[in-house]
């Protein structure tokens, strides 16, 4: 029986178990006082019948491939096993393929392996089905005995629910661990092939590795400095656009604007944050970049058609609402008494803002800018669509540069062997990206929190 049929059986058994438990409890409720509602007894027996069986199936699904692989290996004669590892893998693979397609094979060794696979497979399915039935029926039987109503059903059920809730919130931890492990392991494999210092301090990036040994000119060099410089350049342009505009609009909206204007303007600015990044990428690549190139040409500058400036400006527009809403929060957190004090001493409103509010809110604003920087560094679609692919080491915003995220996408979207250094390099870049943004975020959140405590 396959897994989905088994799951239906489990659901069926749990349902029977639920109704039988509830019925039993409501019958005994007529003669004695129960510690829990009849439905709690139903839930309890249903969990008893269903949950262990379900866990069993999940465990089985996880370990089945390894177990069956082991069965195949064991059935092979020593002459096959003693081959080199990659040849053995190839052999086992062809057996697996034959099993999957249901093709008859000639090779007697293969036939034997397939037989032992099928025997193991059907045996294990039998055992699994029997266990599911035993567990499910045991719940139903338990629900029929007198022992049922002596159990604190509600407490037990709530304990199970509580564990479920906790597991759900632990998904966040599992995700983080998953990210760290997946990126770290592949990156470590990459650093076996390419030394860490060559990667971090190298100045040439050309990830084309030779497919044949005698191929010329594609030794593959993985110096990531040009990518880091390109990323920083584009992020800086973005921040130069976004920080003044975002900060000034936050100041204007929180200190000067009428409540009516604020009520319209704030959500309107936040629309900028809701527009998907791929739309910004389209805008940058097809409108802003040609526009900047034409303007540059008309005043005699050579501007690349995929200039860093275009990508940076559009990215800046994207993070304006990010900067403005974070600054808005911190400016509003400055106590009113400080404003009143300054105004009472005769300062104008702008002097109050510049000399009292901004200095008081500065840590929070810096935190917001750091968060914005981390977003700019990790932004992908705008640069993939509007920045170039050539890794040039330059600080000229009119030239085409490439970024870490662009390279991750280009390295991983082509048809590529998974184990080649080229794809592994993407994970090394991903590790750099993750660590950088993590440090920026932790640092920024720390500053913002510290600042908040100051005024609470």
């Amino acid at each position: 029986m396959n897994a989905s049929a088994l799951i239906f059986i489990i659901i069926g058994l749990s349902l029977i178990s639920y109704f039988s438990g509830r019925h039993r409890a409501s019958v005994s409720a007529k003669s004695q006082t129960l510690i829990a509602l009849p439905k709690h007894y139903g839930y309890m027996t249903a969990i008893w019948s269903g949950l262990p069986a379900l866990l069993l199936i999940i465990l089985w699904a996880m370990f089945k491939p390894a177990y069956l692989h082991e069965q195949i290996i064991q059935s092979l004669p020593a002459s096959v096993i003693l081959q080199a590892q990659d040849q053995l893998d190839l052999y086992v693979n062809s057996i697996n393929l034959a099993i999957e397609n249901g093709e008859p094979v000639e090779d007697p060794i293969m036939q034997k392996a397939m037989e032992s696979y099928q025997v193991a497979d059907s045996n294990s399915k039998w055992i699994l089905t029997t266990l599911v039935f035993v567990i499910g029926l045991s719940g139903i039987i338990f629900s029929l005995t007198g022992a049922l109503t002596k159990v604190q059903a509600r407490v037990k059920v709530e304990k199970v629910i509580r564990i479920f809730l906790m597991l759900c919130s632990a998904v966040a931890i599992v995700t983080t661990i998953g990210i760290v492990l997946s990126v770290l392991f592949e990156a470590l494999r990459f650093f076996e092939a390419v030394s860490f210092f060559d990667f971090v301090f190298g100045t040439t990036w050309s990830p084309q590795t030779a497919i044949r040994v005698d191929q010329v000119g594609s030794s593959g060099s993985f110096g990531a400095i040009p990518l880091f410089v390109g990323t920083i350049l584009i992020s800086l342009i973005a921040l130069i656009i976004a920080v003044p505009i975002g900060l000034l609009s936050a100041i204007y909206l929180s200190e000067y604007a009428s409540a009516k204007f604020r009520a319209i303007a704030k959500p309107a600015l936040e629309v900028l944050a809701g527009i998907p990044t791929v739309v910004y990428g389209f805008f940058a690549a097809l409108t802003v970049a040609p526009f900047i190139r034409d303007v540059g040409q008309s005043i005699g500058l050579t501007v690349a058609s995929e200039s860093a400036l275009a990508a940076g400006i559009v990215m800046g527009v994207m993070i304006i609402p990010f900067v403005s809403s974070l600054s808005d929060d911190v400016i509003n957190a400055v106590p009113q008494a400080m404003r009143d004090g300054s105004l009472g001493l005769g300062a104008t409103q702008s002097e109050t803002i510049k000399q009292v509010i901004i200095p008081a809110a500065l840590p929070g604003i810096v935190g917001g800018v750091l968060l914005a920087a981390s977003r700019a560094i990790g932004e992908t679609m705008i640069v993939v669509m509007a920045a170039g692919l050539s890794a040039k080491l330059t600080a000229n915003p009119l030239e085409a540069v490439t970024t870490v995220t662009v390279q991750i996408v280009t390295l991983l979207t082509g048809d590529q062997e998974f184990d080649s250094p080229k794809t592994l390099a993407a994970f090394a870049l991903g590790l750099m990206l993750f660590v950088t943004t993590l440090v920026l975020n932790v640092f920024a959140l720390h500053i913002v929190r510290k600042y908040r405590e100051q005024y609470e």
């Binding site: 709530e158 505009i245 791929v278």
Partner: protein, 421 residues
């Protein structure tokens, strides 16, 4: 000079500075608006041509002699399928332009009509064999994308030849060319030919992917929020969970794509390009958003309600699930819709897990190869044909339309169902 005078003398300057500062602020706000307006205007102007399709009127000869059919031939599907429909369309074009004699010119003439026209004709004839007779079939067929772009925008590009412009002028004089609403855009999937390309496949892909995302992230997100807000003890483990959630909310989306590639595809062996894996990755990404907003909604339920339930003898679990959670539901759903809107617009992680393939079939389930709206935008924006630019912009408008509707629903929910205590 005493102090009062110094202050008085400086006043004018200070007031001017005050005015200037206020002006800077106003300018900053308006710069934001102007950027937004330019962006929307640019996309709308680029998109408008895509909603119109150019069609050419043809009289297609369908008499048995031309079709080389014997009088006693059975008109079964096989026979009908074997007819050379491309040849029929070419013939009808030759009939419409009898003056064209040179081979080169004829080739250009044939290029006026979309390569999809023959399939349309074939399907029509197979569905209705009575069309075969001595009367020619009068039919509007789609024009080729270069003709389409030229006719709609009236700009001459290198892709259209002088002779073709002459043909189009003649068609115009005879009233044999027109534009109509582009239904292909909504009923077809991706294609190499712009005039036959549509967003139906991407739309269905987005639907399946979002469905997976919703089914995973909503229950898990609510459960996590309930635990953290109501049951979690104050200890290191809880703090650790909270730190993780806050950090995940700020991890670049492309890193989730790497996670999906390394864990879901290479480790668990889930098929690439499927909505299932796209949905899994996106739900991990939207989980922090949903958890954070659900916690805020749960926190806003006043403690008096909880205390009343506890006082009447409800258990902690019953209090939460019978009273707190239903009251917090509108707030939770608002957060969930905003999270879904984010997921709908997300592109980068999906590029990592193979949802960038060229897929012509409309996906019918969780495991079919699929692409989604934003990825379709990315794919088309790369195409050199000018007509694809318009299609890209039109797809963007559709995407923005969906986002606007989702956000409007969220705002409506917040306004009408969220109770202020």
């Amino acid at each position: 000079m005493n102090n009062t005078e110094t202050v008085k003398n400086s006043l004018k300057k200070r007031y001017a500075r005050e005015k200037r500062f206020q002006l800077y602020g106003r300018m900053a706000v308006w710069t934001g608006f102007i950027f937004l307006a330019i962006l929307l205007f640019d996309i709308i102007t680029k998109a408008t041509p895509a909603f119109q399709a150019t069609e050419i009127f043809l009289d297609i000869p369908l008499d048995p002699v031309t079709l080389e059919l014997q009088a006693d031939t059975q008109l079964d599907e096989e026979t009908l399928r074997a007819i050379d429909y491309a040849g029929l369309i070419k013939k009808s074009l030759r009939q419409a332009f009898p003056e064209v004699k040179k081979r080169k010119d004829k080739k250009l003439l044939y290029k006026l009509v979309s390569s999809g026209a023959e399939f349309k004709l074939r399907d029509m004839v197979i569905n209705n064999p009575q069309l075969i007779g001595n009367k020619p079939l009068s039919l509007w067929v789609l024009a080729d994308d270069d003709v389409d772009t030229f006719y709609k925008l009236e700009t001459v590009t290198s892709r259209i030849k002088e002779q073709q412009i002459g043909f189009i002028d003649k068609l115009k004089q005879d009233d044999r060319i027109r534009t109509s609403f582009n239904t292909t855009f909504f009923t077809h999937s991706d294609s190499r030919e712009p005039e036959q390309a549509g967003i139906r496949g991407a739309l269905m892909g987005s639907f399946w992917t979002l469905l997976v995302t919703l089914l995973i992230s909503l229950p898990v997100g609510i459960a996590a929020a309930v635990y953290l807000e109501e049951f979690a003890p104050q200890n290191k483990f809880t703090d650790f969970i909270e730190i993780n959630i806050n950090n995940l909310a700020a991890v670049p989306s492309i890193v989730f794509g790497l996670l999906g590639l390394a864990v879901f595809i290479n480790f668990f062996g889930i098929p690439r390009s499927a909505p299932l894996i796209g949905g899994l990755v996106l739900s991990l990404m939207t989980l922090p958003t949903i958890i954070i907003s659900s916690r805020a909604a749960l926190k806003s339920v006043p403690p008096s309600i909880k205390e009343a339930a506890l006082g009447l003898g409800a258990s902690h679990m019953q209090t939460v699930f019978h009273h707190v959670l239903p009251l917090a539901m509108p707030g939770i759903l608002t957060g969930a819709i905003i999270g879904m809107a984010q997921a709908l617009g997300e592109t980068a992680p999906l590029l990592m897990i193979g949802m960038v393939a060229f897929i012509v079939d409309v996906p019918g389930g969780f495991l079919d190869s699929a692409t989604v709206l934003p990825v379709q935008i990315y794919l088309w924006s790369d195409s050199p044909e000018r007509a694809f630019t318009a299609l890209t912009a039109a797809t963007i408008l559709v995407l923005l339309g969906f986002l606007a509707v989702m956000n409007a629903i969220a705002i409506y929910l917040r306004k009408h169902f969220e109770r202020r205590w």
